[in-house]
């Protein structure tokens, strides 16, 4: 599949999503908005983002939702407290192993907090307390019997700011397999590094300088290095916390391209500020607001026919 077709955000090729954004923009300012507020039916019909043109939603896997399929991860009534303050309440979401799930919402709505529950990164914050259950293949990861170290290898994470170790490119990727004892020999390790870099689409750019420092790469390359590092321990789920917010549009396009390629091999959950990005890369979207899960469903439905007023307001750019 030619990826260029999928990359609407590239400045030189303003295809589907850009026009969709303009549509959404016009919608907000134009008189149609005023009409929306008064008539409920018009609101539902209002074209927001033209999802029909997005490749990621044309997939057959999108046809059936939830029923009859076992989710990879299943969060049930998850709440998070920081001290006495409740940051997240009653979130129930299912993540499927062949779909990309996007979490959208305004800043401070709890989407990153929820993402960090999925591999128990919140454990590192002393005041944080998680309630509810989160299952990974039917196993409750919030229980004390769950080994956190193993969980984080199974549920890998990519962070907002690229954070390679100040070590060589090779060592960055080899670190995970080394500490988990996945590689049995040096040749094994080299093979894992090569495969991971290839899957992250970075191999051709760095194959001649694997011994150079990972921090010497450009921002976009660093982020792909971090994705390669997460892949290297062969995870089942990859969590991405606003992976493109520190990157320029071209690097962003490459990461999105990569997400498309990784889909199917890993279950992916991505937090993003950028609604167009959510529409471009995901098949399921969850909208968070003020610590609550407002709406969760197919990306196509969330963006064309949301059930909640707040979702509608957010995706049309009325707040957030």
């Amino acid at each position: 599949m030619d990826m260029k077709e999928k990359m609407p955000l590239t400045p030189t090729t303003p295809v589907p999503t850009n026009s969709a954004a303009i549509e959404a923009d016009a919608n907000r300012k134009g008189p149609a908005t005023v009409k929306d507020e008064t008539t409920g039916e018009a609101e539902a019909a209002a074209p927001t983002i033209d999802v029909s043109q997005l490749d990621n939603l044309k997939d057959s896997s999108d046809a059936a939702i939830d029923t009859g399929r076992e989710p990879k991860m299943c969060a049930d009534k998850v709440g998070v407290f920081y001290g006495d303050k409740q940051a997240l309440k009653d979130v129930s979401i299912k993540i499927y192993d062949d779909l990309v799930t996007a979490f959208i919402g305004p800043s401070g709505c709890g989407k990153s907090t929820f993402l960090r529950c999925l591999n128990r990164m919140n454990d590192t914050i002393p005041s944080a307390r998680v309630v509810g259950t989160i299952d990974l293949d039917g196993e409750d990861i919030t229980s004390s019997a769950m080994d956190v170290v193993q969980l984080r290898a199974r549920v890998g994470m990519v962070f907002q700011k690229p954070n390679p170790f100040p070590k060589s490119i090779f060592d960055n990727i080899a670190y995970g397999p080394k500490i988990h004892g996945i590689a049995h020999s040096k040749a094994d390790l080299e093979q894992i590094v090569e495969t991971s870099l290839k899957r992250a689409g970075l191999w051709d750019e760095v194959k001649d300088r694997l011994q150079e420092s990972g921090t010497a790469l450009s921002g976009g390359q660093q982020q792909r290095l971090c994705i390669a590092r997460a892949i290297a321990v062969d995870p089942e789920v990859i969590l991405m916390d606003e992976p493109c917010s520190a990157l320029d549009p071209i690097a962003t396009a490459k990461i999105e391209e990569l997400i498309h390629e990784l889909r199917g091999r890993y279950a992916i959950a991505i937090v993003t500020h950028n609604m167009q990005q959510a529409a471009r890369v995901s098949q399921r979207t969850a909208f968070f607001h003020l610590g609550e899960l407002v709406e969760y469903g197919k990306t196509s439905e969330i963006f064309t026919n949301p059930h909640e007023q707040r979702t509608q307001d957010y995706i049309t750019g009325r707040y957030g």
Binding site: T124, T215, R229, A230, V233
Partner: protein, 428 residues
């Protein structure tokens, strides 16, 4: 819009923008620049003043101390056939030779020869070191006992002072006589680098104190560095945050400010009285100084660990590293340069410390260099302190010379530490 602005500056009819050129504004601007210039000049003056003080100190120490590294020697013609030494050159063989020579009345022979050559006043002109030198010379070459020889031997402290600066009348006369006969020369004082403490200022040396300092600092580093680093790692990364850890933090910060003599009292009470460790030994000195250095390392270590970006920790946790692996594979290597900086500061302070060591008995007169950490020893700062207390004037230059040695030793240690720190420095 223009109307409103014109109103803002009544009468002038100008717009608001033109007020930037008004006199009041220009004055304010000039005042601001004048203040900035004044501030810069004050800073420059402070730097100049401190450089001046430093230069004065170095010049003072250097000009006084350089004399400590040199020593006057006088030519002494000895006729061994008339010296009453009763030594048989043929018998001076084997391991007992040195003892046999040392038992002979060599200093008497030197006195006699000096009297013969330079008159009765010169009987005491040579130092104790001269005897040692003569012993070595005889053992090396016993055949000189069969005839006459002229040897260059170090003069005593009084003559040395008289030759270098100003001495008592008798010494001045001898110096004048020696100079007239060209029998006086200035030479490098190897004894000062090789010897230990002595009662005769011309025979003293810093080697014993230097060795003592080395052993003491070795013990200090070996104890304080690992304990300090592990304590800071535990407090920063593993300890649960509670009133207890807060109390420990406050106590450690306070410990760094405790006067060093208190640590000396603690060392005296615990290491000597309770644990019965040897008095005056580098082991106890090192342990006492380690107590003093430890809080400095912990504070620096905690700050260095805190300043490691949390993103690195998250990255390592994210690929499934355990807490211990995160700490030892990532946090500690990145914090090491900062920890080493703190260690350098702490050890440099310990290196120059005198007070706590006085209390555990390291101010004793030790005439032999220590051969281990449990031998009686003294350290350079204490040696400087002891010499500065001496009445004899020739100790003044020895004191300054010892200070120069101490400063060079510190420079060497710090240079080594900075080299190590730069090797471990990583950029991210």
């Amino acid at each position: 819009m223009t109307d409103v602005r014109a109103d803002a500056v009544p009468g002038t009819g100008s717009t608001a923008a033109s007020r930037w050129t008004a006199d009041a504004m220009q004055r304010r601007l000039r005042r601001r620049y004048a203040f900035e210039r004044g501030f810069k000049l004050t800073g420059l003056a402070a730097i100049c003043l401190s450089i001046l003080f430093l230069a004065f100190l170095l010049w003072n120490m250097g000009s006084q101390g350089i004399g400590g590294f040199t020593q006057y020697q006088a030519a002494l013609p000895i006729d061994f056939t008339k010296s009453d030494l009763f030594l048989d050159p043929a018998a001076l063989r084997g391991p007992d030779a040195e003892q046999t020579v040392a038992n002979a009345d060599l200093s008497g022979a030197i006195s006699k020869a000096a009297t013969t050559a330079y008159g009765p006043e010169a009987a005491e002109m040579f130092s104790d070191g001269a005897t040692t030198l003569l012993t070595k010379e005889i053992v090396r070459n016993p055949s000189i006992l069969n005839g006459q020889a002229t040897l260059w031997l170090p003069v005593g402290g009084k003559i040395d002072t008289a030759a270098k600066h100003q001495g008592d009348a008798a010494s001045e006369r001898i110096v004048a006589a020696l100079k007239q006969k060209h029998a006086l020369r200035r030479a490098f004082n190897a004894q000062f680098l090789k010897g230990s403490d002595a009662t005769d200022p011309s025979a003293v040396g810093v080697w014993g104190a230097l060795k003592g300092t080395f052993y003491t600092i070795l013990v200090t580093i070996l104890l304080a560095f690992p304990i300090g680093v592990l304590a800071s790692v535990y407090l920063e990364e593993f300890a649960p945050k509670s009133w207890l850890s807060d109390a420990i933090e406050v106590s450690i910060n306070n410990l760094a400010a405790v006067p060093s003599i208190i640590f000396g009292l603690l060392g005296l009470a615990v290491f000597l009285d309770v644990m019965n460790l040897p008095r005056s030994a580098p082991l106890v000195g090192g342990m006492t100084l380690a107590l003093m250095t430890f809080p400095v390392i912990v504070i620096a270590g905690r700050n260095a660990i805190k300043s490691v970006p949390p993103s690195i920790r998250e990255a390592a946790l994210g690929v499934g590293a355990s807490k211990l692996q995160v700490t030892f594979h990532h946090v500690l290597p990145l914090a090491l340069p900062g920890i080493l900086t703190g260690t350098i500061i702490g050890v440099a302070r310990a290196l120059g410390e005198t007070a706590p060591l006085l209390l555990i008995g390291m101010r004793a007169f030790v005439a032999a260099p220590p051969n281990g950490i449990s031998d009686p020893a003294t350290v350079l700062p204490v040696q400087i302190f002891l010499w500065s207390d001496e009445v004899d004037r020739s100790f003044v230059e020895k004191t300054s010379a010892a200070i120069i040695v101490l400063l060079l030793f510190m420079l060497l240690m710090n240079g080594l530490a900075i080299y190590l720190r730069n090797r471990f420095e990583r950029r991210w």
